[in-house]
């Protein structure tokens, strides 16, 4: 390989990891909801779109940087998630129906309503936030003058990635160390046993939906400086989150992180070596391959290692 080829490869890998970090954050929200509620939230991307619009209007109206909007959009989406679970999903859970997956269909409807409300209020224009640092980058040669190869790191991508990592670590800490976090994990593993231990399972469902929505809202803010925004962008991200959730193994948080990174790198590689337009194809190739050869996702590999089965 020539040094140019190495440069391209490393640059692609870096871009993929940065994208993967953000993907992981989107996937985490969906996988948490999946774990506790046993349903796929098909309004996930639309919730992200709501988060992005919040950040967008904060920027346009009050000149608040999208990164600061993380602290506004995350709580806003948390409460939106709570409201959705409490007033829409929970009542549907109670109804005995022919279709056991009623709630999933409900989330599709919620997604449609959100996307169309956004079209009504904000028009279907493509928008983006012209932040000052949008095109800034760190260069390897700035730090190491005699470097044989040149790599660059886009400032907004890097900042978004760092935010995603910090949020992920905070989430891990919450799930591993607090009683509420443990109760959420317990509910996901064995609902009836959790209930016997005095866990208010209904409340855990509500909180989990809130956290899942909050996470994807944060991801929306992090995507805004590097992406553009339009009302129907949600569907695409719902699919991405779904692929990550399958790739990671349904309901597994570590799986979702690994799945997000794998997908990010894979998409980035397809874009560089096959062509920009092929990235979504790569996404579904990896999805199908995973379903055929690793139906339990990354989580099943981890489990095999942990339990020796």
């Amino acid at each position: 390989m020539t040094s140019v080829q190495i440069e391209v490869f490393l640059q692609t890998l870096i871009a993929g990891l940065l994208l993967g970090g953000l993907y992981a954050l989107i996937g985490l929200g969906m996988t948490l909801i999946m774990g506790v509620m046993k349903i796929i939230n098909l309004a996930h991307g639309e919730l992200m779109m709501v988060g992005m619009y919040i950040a967008y209007w904060m920027f346009v109206l009050f000149n608040i940087d999208p990164y600061l909007s993380v602290f506004i959009a995350t709580p806003a989406l948390f409460f939106l998630g709570i409201a959705i679970q409490k007033f829409l999903v929970n009542p549907v859970l109670k109804v005995e129906s022919i279709l056991p997956e009623n709630q999933v269909i409900l989330t599709v409807g919620i997604g449609m309503v959100l996307a169309n409300l956004a079209t009504v209020f904000f028009k279907s224009d493509y928008r983006s936030t012209p932040v000052a640092y949008a095109t800034n980058a760190f260069y390897l040669s700035d730090f190491w003058e005699t470097s044989p190869i040149e790599l660059s790191l886009s400032v907004p991508w890097t900042v978004s990635f760092v935010f995603a990592v910090v949020i992920t670590i905070t989430l891990w800490f919450f799930l591993a160390k607090t009683d509420t976090g443990k109760s959420i994990r317990a509910t996901a593993q064995d609902l009836e046993a959790a209930f016997l231990m005095g866990v208010n399972v209904k409340l855990m469902r509500v909180i989990t939906f809130g956290i899942g929505a909050g996470l994807v809202g944060a991801a929306g803010c992090l995507f805004l400086p590097i992406y553009y925004l339009f009302p129907s962008l949600g569907g695409q991200f719902t699919l991405i989150a779904f692929v990550i959730t399958i790739l990671g193994g349904l309901g597994s948080t570590i799986g979702a992180i690994i799945g997000g990174l794998v997908l990010g790198v894979f998409e980035s590689m397809t874009a560089t070596y096959i062509g920009m337009g092929w990235a979504p194809v790569g996404r579904f190739v990896i999805f199908v391959v995973c379903l055929i050869f690793l139906p339990g996702g990354v989580a099943s590999l981890l489990k095999r290692k942990k339990f020796g089965k």
Partner: protein, 234 residues
Amino acid sequence: MLEIKNIDVFYGDVQVVFDVAFEVKKGEVVALIGANGAGKSTTLKTISGILRPRNGEIVFDGITINKIEPYKLIEKGLALCPEARRLFVEMTVEENLDMGSLKGEAKKLREKTKEMVFDFFPRLKERRRQLAGTLSGGEQQMVAIGRGLMSLPKLLMFDEPSLGLAPILVREIFDIIRKIREEGTTVLIVEQNTKQSLSIADRAYVMETGKIALQGTGRELLNDEHVKKAYLGV
């Protein structure tokens, strides 16, 4: 301490428990025995709030518990070691124990109770950081009992604690139950292992096809002709 007043329990339209009434007094070990499908576990599930009785009443410590939110029972001092243990297999032993002490007094005394549980089961102390799913069946049962003890229960209920365990472990589990009782916890035990449970029980009830068929002290029932023939294979 616990009074079951003529409960009827249904799964959908099918009635499985008919007019069952019994009581557990403070400090006793009471066994509920019977064949597979007699309605024992259903009765226990109804006491712990997973199922609701259609008729009748369950009173624990002066409170009608079939009217309150079932997840609040553990705070009132009523804990269940469920059938097949139902541990949180992807959590560590210690996290499983923490799950037993989420509320009130039990939460405040968590570390102290944990030490007590570890004194009870030294093997769990060695394995406190291990995932519960990686333990052997006997160890898992110890975690399940420990998790029940973590809530500082007044009444601890066991659903088939000996199920699936090797005979030597069965004896160990029954020894532990005896010890728990000596420490002052009232015990209600549901078992298919008739001989072992009758020998540790002060009183016992025999359930057949959803009804209480016989009752008496453990010794009386051990010598009862019907029990001998139907359950002890003598």
